[in-house]
Symmetry: C2
Subunit: 380 residues, 2 copies
């Protein structure tokens, strides 16, 4: 193998590939990047237990003097290409033992692994794609994925569910204490599907498509999703099992509605929750800080917290609108509320309540079909 390429082109593609590169792996060869040069194209491949990424480089700066393939230590390769500041990079496989990276007056040698030992990646066949706008997919992920479970007690809840029924796509994430759901419409001729994608894979996908704003093609198989765009194939495994039916969890009628300026509410919640206990974050699902929200008879709202060792806090906030027959107090995780609030674009958000320990719902006027739901905790 002997190829020359513009450093910037190589680096841009390495940044995408790095989304699938594990720092450590039970299979050491997976910490390597596979290079495969045909007579005209250069392929780069990375893979971990969840994600595989392949890019095909066919840039006008690419000169392939000799085809070939090899596997090189991934992090070292990326780091050195990042640090070099020459315009051109030459990669030369010497004696099938060492990859020599030449750039200006520098020469960097990497011990290689055999391309024959690199596992074959089974990509989903490129048939019957669902085409979706990159910006829409980003929005669907960003407004839901934060609500997935962080621990593996119920593995299916560590993923985001995408369910298509005749063109109505319902995207749902829940850790069983809260739920995020966004509904949108897609091509109604596409087959129905019901898949759950690991949220870590979605995080990496978001990074990979961060600068990409055109259409994506999605290909589904029984247990994999392949996203294809530009010269990139990004594939993730899907989670096994049935995602819980959440349709009946979301209350449909609410006796109480209270509307806030979103940024003001976030500020007050962040201040009041400063006084919650710290340094006990062993199990993140349990030690969130609990704050109380009270709608008083006079239609003012108070947020408060109590901390036996440190003290307490309470702050009044004036809602922009209140519909309430009786005063009510609910208690809930401040982190859940803040994460939910930040998922809205609207500057005004409404909380819809039914009773003290019944789930409450948050919606934003300008965020169509986005529902955030939080389960309050019982007060002592």
């Amino acid at each position: 193998m002997n190829i020359t390429i513009d450093r910037e082109v190589l680096l841009e593609n390495l940044n995408i590939i790095s989304r699938g590169l594990p720092l450590k792996s039970p299979m050491p060869i997976l910490t390597g990047i596979k290079l495969y040069a045909t007579d005209v194209d250069l392929f780069l491949t990375s893979s971990n237990s969840d994600i595989s990424v392949e890019v095909r480089i066919n840039d006008q700066s690419l000169v392939i003097d000799e085809a070939g393939s090899t596997v090189i230590p991934g992090r070292y390769f990326i780091d050195i290409i990042k640090k070099l500041n020459s315009r051109k990079i030459n990669l030369y496989l010497s004696d099938n033992k060492i990859l020599i990276i030449k750039a200006d007056r520098g020469e960097y040698k990497l011990h290689i692994m055999s391309a024959l030992d690199y596992p074959k990646i089974d990509f989903v066949p490129l048939e019957d794609p669902l085409t979706i706008e990159s910006d829409l997919l980003k929005e669907l992920i960003k407004s839901t994925a934060f609500a997935t479970a962080q621990n593996e007690k119920k593995p299916i809840l560590t993923g985001v569910n995408f369910k298509n029924t005749s063109g109505e796509l319902v995207v749902t994430a829940t850790d069983s204490f809260r739920l995020s759901q966004k509904i949108t419409t897609i091509n109604n001729e596409y087959k129905d599907f019901n898949i759950t994608i690991p949220s870590k894979s979605l995080d990496e996908l978001l990074k990979a498509i961060d600068n990409y704003e055109e259409n994506l093609n999605l290909y589904f198989s029984q247990n994999k999703l392949l996203v294809v765009y530009k010269n990139v194939c990004f594939q993730t495994r899907l989670l096994d099992g049935n995602f819980p039916d959440t349709s009946r969890l979301i209350p449909q009628t609410f006796p109480i509605t209270v509307k806030f300026n979103k940024d003001e509410l976030i500020e007050v919640v962040e201040r009041v929750s400063l006084f919650s206990p710290r340094d006990k974050e062993r199990d993140k699902e349990i030690t969130y800080s609990i704050i109380k929200l009270t709608i008083r008879n006079d239609r003012t709202v108070e947020l408060s917290t109590n901390n036996a060792t440190v003290g307490g806090a309470n702050e009044d906030i004036i809602p922009t609108e209140v519909i309430a027959t009786n005063p009510i107090t609910i208690a809930f995780s401040s982190r859940y509320l803040i994460e939910a609030l930040k998922s809205f674009m609207s500057s005004e958000v409404s909380l819809y309540l039914t009773a003290e320990v019944r789930p409450f719902v948050i919606k934003g006027e300008r965020d169509f079909n986005l529902t955030q739901l939080i389960l309050p905790v019982r007060m002592d």
Copy 2:
């Protein structure tokens, strides 16, 4: 106690006080900030095993309705004052049990500790100061403190030595593998001294005086240094013991001199040292990455490294000037060289060498009286 003050004034002073506030302490009361309001002034005090800081606030925004003193949980207090966005803050000691912080529509309550339990801080008497420009002290610290020892094997080496002899102030730090020394002149009527200041205290002092550009007054006692400026008293303990005499460590004649563009040299060293072993940083003093520097017969210079598992790297760099009779190769820690190089303002730096395993010295044309010395390692 009942006082009102502009939030910005309080916060600015809390930021200075925070330099002496420990996160944890065997004496829990030291995790608190002491507030002490006389009829006209508000004092804030923090203290840990190395540093004590006291500020006296006499701002025109300060209104003291009732004098008094108390100790409050320091981190919580700072965090809440940071997060509030009201212009005025009211601090009210209720029943001598709770400090109530009022700001706009919010009320924050902190359980207090007794001011009687707070240890009395013995500040060095304000007699016979050494006056020094803030910028000069910052420069002395920044160009030396990085070379102090990180471990406690020889505690005296964890500090920076300041030795004054008739107005010649020699500032030295060494971890016994490298040495940084800056010489300057101070008021030659000031008494001679020879003190060693913990480098952690100097880090905190740098942060405290970051925005301050006028003169500082320094007061010395047997085992303490007190720095006084504006309304701030910043005191640190000094290290016990004799700082080693380093005067004979620095070679005085050098057969070999090689001059580089500093930024270019840093870049090449950073690239070449990327290939040194990783993930084995248990003992930081041992696992620095070793690179080689070779001055060839043709007066070009090569930097290179070897890594049995990953590969190797070599890069040529053209010096701007070479004085050398014979070729020579030295091996040394790339981190030491980079840290030393970054201490210079000069854009050109010279390396002065004597032999393969003899210390070499780095100097910059525009950095008067700054010497960086590095001890090479033996090559295998």
